[in-house]
């Protein structure tokens, strides 16, 4: 059933409903008709029998019965299927009127003093397989002799007629069902055309043509929500593809610099014979470039892995300030060389994956150290609330231009590519921070005024 098309399924369903309804209606009508017909015939038989008994009662003797045959028979003349038989009590046939040639059975007779009603009717099937109905009654003539009056009717004509009715009903019903199937197929196909339109639109969407959308205006109300959510999904996919494409392109571009450096420096070195220290310097420079490439690969793989649906966070609850002091210790030498102080304020426990927390804070600090002028202080503040814990890293410096604030967490985005240490920074540090925050269900944000304070804030929501 599940492999049938929606179209066929609906048509079949519709046809079953039509069949069922017609069958019920047909049965009811047929039964009503046959009841009506039989009731009429039964009444005729009963009335004839009553009449005959009353007439017989007025006869003088058995001879009179024979004499008045025409009068008696006239009572059943109206219906060619009726037969009449009057017998004397010794079994002698007085009248045997039998145009339908019925072998009248020996029917049980209703006593003469009892009123004849339809309940006395007897039904049987003759030896010739003809359905019969009949009634018999006893009557007493004036001279006291008894006769038995039998009236019977062959129901063959009725059976034949009902049989024809039945066939007619079957044929009508069959055609109606066929028409219903055909019509419903056509109508359903028509009704489902909007779905086909959506399918056609979807068929046109490929990685190269992700900007195509389903026409929501043309969709009927029932399919509106579907079209809208499909379009929303397409938009998300498009953004995902764009980001992927952008990252791949950026990565390839960023790889060009170190590889170009290695190739160029090596080629220049090979153009003439150099001294050993010159060769050594070249090799060291090449190793540095390799390290750069390795760092980029590691970062890109980290991001890819973090975005994979199989990534599982290993959360623990730990003392955030203690961890911050450890990270501060790691950077203290570097900070001291740049004449920068790192100050850590506040206390809080935090629920996060420790390694990722460390990585996010380190990236922020490394970033802050890169832009903080000598003599300034980087202030790290931990604030806890019942909803979660936030960590702010604030430093004075050149600040971030408003145009860059929105893009700063994007991959390979460098606000100032011309900086001397841009070789050290992969342009992925803040993107990693954002990804780590996304993994924790938190967020990373930045506020900055040009020439003033820049604050990065990480918010870790409390678990549960």
């Amino acid at each position: 059933m599940s492999r049938l098309s929606l179209n066929a399924r609906l048509a079949l369903l519709f046809a079953s409903i039509v069949t069922f309804c017609l069958a019920v209606v047909g049965t009811i009508l047929f039964n009503a008709l046959s009841r009506q017909i039989y009731a009429q015939d039964d009444l005729n038989i009963v009335l004839s029998a009553r009449h005959l008994r009353r007439l017989a009662a007025e006869m003088d003797d058995l001879a009179a019965v024979r004499e008045h045959q025409a009068r008696l028979v006239s009572l059943v003349l109206g219906d060619a299927a009726l037969a009449l038989k009057i017998d004397s009590s010794d079994g002698t046939s007085l009248i045997d009127y039998d145009p339908p040639h019925l072998p009248l059975m020996n029917l049980a007779a209703t006593p003469q003093n009892q009123r004849i009603v339809t309940e006395h009717l007897q039904r049987w099937i003759s030896a010739e397989d003809v359905p019969m109905r009949g009634i018999a009654t006893l009557a007493t003539l004036r001279d006291g002799s008894a006769v038995k009056i039998s009236v019977a009717r062959s129901m063959q004509d009725r059976a034949l007629m009902l049989e024809q009715y039945r066939s007619l009903i079957w044929m009508t019903e069959g055609s109606a069902v066929l028409i219903a199937i055909v019509l419903s197929l056509l109508l359903i196909r028509r009704a489902l055309r909007p779905l086909q339109n959506i399918a056609d639109s979807a068929r046109g969407i490929t990685p190269e043509r992700l900007d195509a959308r389903i026409d929501v205006q043309r969709a009927p109300t029932e399919l509106h929500a579907l079209a809208v959510s499909l379009n929303a999904m397409l938009l998300r996919l498009q953004q995902g593809f764009d980001r992927l494409w952008q990252s791949t392109t950026d990565l390839a571009h960023d790889l060009r610099t170190p590889i170009g450096n290695m190739r160029g420096a090596s080629e220049v070195a090979l153009t003439r014979v150099r001294s050993a220290p010159e060769y050594q310097a070249l090799l060291v420079s090449n190793i540095e470039e390799c390290d750069r490439v390795t760092r980029m690969i590691e970062s890109v793989l980290f991001l890819a892995r973090a975005e994979s649906p199989h990534f599982a966070l290993k959360r623990t609850t730990f003392d955030a300030s203690e961890e911050l002091h450890r990270i501060g210790e790691y950077f203290e030498g570097l900070a001291a060389e740049g004449g920068v102080d790192i100050s850590i304020r506040g206390e809080a426990r935090i629920n996060a994956e420790r390694e990722l927390f460390r990585r996010a804070i380190s990236n922020l600090l490394a970033n802050a150290l890169r832009f903080t002028p000598a003599g300034a202080t980087i202030v790290i503040t931990v604030t806890a609330s019942s909803a979660g814990t936030s960590i702010a890293v604030q430093n004075a410096g050149t600040g971030i231009a408003p145009a860059d604030v929105g893009k700063i967490f994007e991959r390979f985005y460098r606000a100032d590519a011309s900086r001397t240490d841009s070789g050290m920074a992969s342009g992925l540090g803040l993107a990693i921070v954002k990804t780590i925050m996304d993994l924790h269900g938190g967020r990373a944000s930045v506020q900055s005024e040009v020439g003033g304070l820049t604050t990065f804030e990480l918010y870790f929501p409390a678990p549960g």
Partner: protein, 225 residues
Amino acid sequence: MRLLVVEDEAKTREYLRKGLEESGFTVDIANNGLDGLHLALEENYDLVVLDVMLPALEGWDVIKRLRDKKNIPVLFLTARDQIEDRVRGLELGGDDYLIKPFAFVELLARIRTLLRRGPAREVEQISVGDLEIDVIRRRVRRAGVRVDLTPREFSLLQLLANRQGEVLSRTQIASYVWDMNFDSDTNVVEVAIRRLRAKIDDDHAVKLIHTIRGMGYVLEVGERG
């Protein structure tokens, strides 16, 4: 010490052989899994360096079959660093796991650690030339004069002294001293070494902390070529 290097990439194989031989090991090489397994079973090696992606027989299968017969240390090399791969490698009986690209000094350090076998003995007193380190009291003297170090500077010096003569990469140092197991795009280690050197070496003619350019740092008496 005899090592077997099973690696299909010619350049990698060649530099591993050369580097390990120059570090004092006897090195045999195999360029596919089948040959590697055969050699490892026939000969007596102290350690096998095994690439995971190999023609003829994968690294995983090599170690499975090898482990049925022999229990020599195996160090995996691989370009794949999914956690599952790491777990699989260790479950199958690998002793350590190194992801390509790796620093050669790190490979050397891992090999030496595996060959040492068993936990390194904690020494109470380390001396290198006229440098004396009291591990228990966490005190340092150079030529009899006390040198004041911050806790992290002490950890750094202790690490270098414990592995004296061995080149340690920046990554290794960051990991051992600060437990930072990722690259933070900064020259923190370089700065830390510079500051440690200012306290240990600057006032003395004989320098103990040496920079091996492009590779890392080493603590030893005497110059390196």
